[in-house]
Subunit: 347 residues, 4 copies
């Protein structure tokens, strides 16, 4: 089979290579990939700007069908439609024992599509049974390929952000994570979700409206976005602000948007330090949380919400291409012309 | 009587002025001050670097005896020994209704010793009954004058920081707030409290040892304080870091000291923005909290802990002077030669 | 004016009496009642089965218009449309200082319509400004009369029950509290709300369907309600069970309906002890919470949810009558032929 | 080797049998037992009153030294001194995925000393690596044998009960669990721990005093224990009550001891239903929690607290005997003449 592989360190070094079809180890399942999405991290790996261990087949957002199981596998069967997180965990280290499997510190930890384990940009991949989740009825294979980013957002928002029904929530950045965060906030009962972006995001705002965002703010057009947020929140500010843009300026603005005794959730990554007045954390009596990846519980909640359509990821899938067209897919993402590009053919 | 009054905006403008003795309004009590501490905020007001409304008698950390009560006062009696927070609250605004009386937004809000209400740097002051707390047996009047800063720390640490028994806690900055934070962390069962400071803080470290701090780090001498903290925490980092120094560099170091999935508490105020890599919040899955002042519940807990000596503020009282010597008191604080300076004579 | 007054202890002693129109004290407002609902507690007071201090005009679920204000009132104006909790609080006692104003222990505490303060079963009543909340746009005066029971449910469910999006929630008892609890659970994102009742509740089940309940169980017809709940929850049991029936048998069943590591919320009152196996609390690792009345924050959330129609109380108003017809109103409630009976004329 | 084995269902059927020494599977370690405690559950199994699967060597509270490891074991080495929970978990089921490994629902789940896995009442036992915890320096092998019951209490009290510094905590029942709960509450900063028992518990009260209990109440002598608790808590009641006696009457009394807005922790098991007025849960706005066993995190905290002597289990070890004397050991426990009986010789 052919896999889209990062072959070596450095910018580029990405190519479609012929590799052996994998076979499941005793506690693993062999999965035929149905759909796999290109993530911002894949772009960063291409440009040598993120953690990875080459050579490795990329692709950690995927769905597929189990076609073979190892002899020790007991709860997953051939024919099951499945998804999984990328990151494996040992269950033994301090972080695992204290409930933070997403930050497992085991040496040689495998991360599908990133480090020491090939990912879903190929016809087949293998994964250990314990990280597998079955796709519930009513969720298509294409939608299921977005379970991974959705679970990241569920972890950050449902598991770590104190949103209560009726809250005003500002989401900064209308990319995949922002659009998912808006929906997850709505699923918690947010009364008004305000999405911020720039003028080039107008087409994203149109999608945002379809998935339930109440209001959008183009921060390049609105002369005083903070005032707008205040007006939309009885002069108090947003109960919770979710930073999903990765822009430094947005991080500062988050502290202005948020109400006294509110909460700021950091979903975006800036890739650099920033200049910020953290005294506001004290003066406004704020809390802030950052999260990384997912817990097993995040997947349980994610799949339940996807099955009931409380979260509808379909509008985020803007492009479907074959793996052979991978360069086009990466170009769409890098030029910010796509929200989610899925590979749906792998031959 | 004479009161130490900030007479007008601008640097300085601080003088001991003859003013009329106050009389309690119907819901107020008249308090004869027993002791009143100089706070960093008083220094900032002197230098026109904090919020205040002149003219106003300074002093918001005080203890005293009730000598007269207004006709509507029902739960406080003449002769009661009392303390109170500085900040009054309306009970009606959104912040009050949602449990954040410390951030009451009422117009014309009175803050003892700061804005629209004279404070404790005088023989007498008045305060409304509803903010009064009685001093429990076993707490001296001098100790009680430290109830206000202690309650600020109790709010920040007990009410907002997730310390569990056995935790390694780093406190940055051996001033009043840091030394109180160390004791409060200990009261929650912290197994190891590590206090950081600079070489000039050696005498403060000596006091720290007396109040139960397990270890001190002079960050000007230790070539790798982060490594030291890691060594003291089985290589994991501190469970909770409490930033009480107000130094920008400490704020950055807090993110390095803290373990994955740990918490950073912001007690100190920098008075400026800083350059910081907040990606660490996500990468290490951290939470951060800032707090401002106290809730009524903070005082209930504070006085209980002071009565049982779980918190012992006596070693923090380094100087006792008369109000007439106020310039000496301010000089001691500004030159960082004192921890807490108390006025104990007011004639 | 005439007020429906409990004149003395004992069963009955309820009569429409001519009384003086009240005048607001300096910190009070005078309210012309628009609508007032009959609560189960009013029935209990009639039968001498609840706490009350006669003589007192009943009625603690009301809405009205401010027609006069006392001289110290600053945030409420004549013409404002308002609601309020029944229970006043001192702000001074231990319970108030620790955030439990709903359990204020002040001597002589006034409870509108119950003890030491006349209620809303009359043309006018007075209330202190600090307990008043303004009715937001889009909420009718009749709907607003249900803000009080809604706030009780918001306190119990949003403020004390750990429901997350997608959860299966069982609500026991299709009375006012149960129907409100179902909606409040939905507002938190509950994926499936199952309402239990008896055969005589069929007409209530019809209303339940209109307000979003996903499924109803007639426990007199279903031969194995626990099995039904298990089937509806992938064999796990309900994530949260809200007991709103006041029936002893329901309380036992709650422990069977709930999943391992789930939560049971006690909204109903039985008026008697019951035989129950609390070992299940340990074996299933459960949590349980009971609540009483409302906090100020409960009202902030309630009115926001009513304004956005996330909670729609209109379908619960089954009867509107004049105060003169009070006997009919009480009979409707006692014979369980009504959900909410409102008095809407008071002359 | 000889193991104390429950050979078949029914009362009795307990005998010291010659069995083969076990060998570790690939992911297991072989442990030479140093000490093993008799638990109340062992007594219940003897009398056929608890869950178990015969034939099985009893003993789930143990410490030992690793003498052999399977080929897949990576983090534990021969010579390591270790303890472990009894209950294994699959990591795959809904309960495991949502963080409740203590309630794993895997078919064929192994529980050391209880079901499908021989326990520590023998010279050797095997356990899978992932449940193993290393004994920290400063904890003796005898003390370590009490890590299992201590971890159960840490889970129930530290992980599930809202104790804050200065709190008044009532612990009901001076058995092993109650005496551990008292210490764990103290480790969280409890200001006053009151232990209740009966007249026959006088010798247990003496031990309680040694481990830091502030006050004991003999409920057979004190004519009004509720009044006593009120007097000891400024008339408010205990902030938290921990029921560790398993007596029905204590469960009722817990609701009387606890303050308004307090918490009741259920550690004890009654083995029967009881008559109780749960309306108090609502009237007093209470929360209640029950727990079962331990989470991995419970062990991390337990061993840290034992290492620092914040929890000192040594005074609870009242008897040390050889396995050959097992009948004497069981008799000591059944006649309530012992707190903890340890087997320390196994030949």
């Amino acid at each position: 089979m052919r896999g889209l592989m990062k072959t070596a360190r450095g910018p580029g070094n990405l190519e479609l290579k012929e590799i052996d079809e994998p076979r499941p180890k005793k506690d693993e399942v062999l999965i035929e990939v149905a759909a796999a999405g290109i993530c911002g991290t894949d772009i960063h790996i291409k440009h040598d700007q993120a953690f990875y261990t080459p050579p490795v087949v990329l692709g950690h957002e995927y769905s597929g069908k189990v076609v073979e199981i190892g002899p020790d596998v007991s709860q997953v069967a051939v024919g099951d439609l499945v998804v999984s997180p990328a990151t494996q965990y040992c269950g033994i280290c301090y972080q695992c024992k204290t409930g933070h499997m997403n930050r497992c510190t085991a040496e040689g930890k495998k991360i599908l599509g990133t480090s020491l384990a090939n990912g879903g940009f190929a016809k087949f991949l293998t994964a250990p049974e314990y990280i597998i989740h079955k796709i519930p009825q009513g969720v298509s294979m294409e939608e299921a390929a977005l379970a991974e980013p959705t679970a990241c957002v569920v972890h950050s928002v449902i598991e770590k952000s104190p949103i209560i029904p009726g809250d005003v929530v500002v989401v900064q950045g209308p990319g995949t994570m922002g659009l998912l965060a808006a929906q997850v906030a709505k699923s918690m009962g947010a009364g008004k979700v305000i999405l911020t972006g720039v003028s080039a995001d107008q087409w994203r705002f149109d999608i945002a409206k379809k998935i339930g965002v109440d209001m959008t703010i183009d921060v390049q057009v609105d002369s005083d976005p903070v005032k707008t947020v205040m007006n939309e929140s009885d002069g108090r500010g947003a109960d919770v602000v979710i930073e999903a843009s990765g822009a430094c300026i947005a991080c500062n603005q988050a502290l202005d948007f948020v109400k006294v005794a509110g909460h700021v959730t950091l979903l975006g990554i800036r890739g650099q330090s920033l200049d910020i007045d953290l005294d506001i954390m004290a003066i406004k009596e704020l809390t802030m949380s950052g999260t990384w990846g997912t817990l097993p519980s995040s997947w349980v909640t994610t799949l339940r919400l996807m099955a009931s359509k409380k979260i509808d990821v379909a509008p985020l899938i803007t492009h479907r291409i074959s793996l052979a067209e991978w360069e086009k897919g990466f170009e769409l993402m890098e030029s910010q012309k796509a929200i989610k590009v899925l590979f749906t053919e792998f031959d």
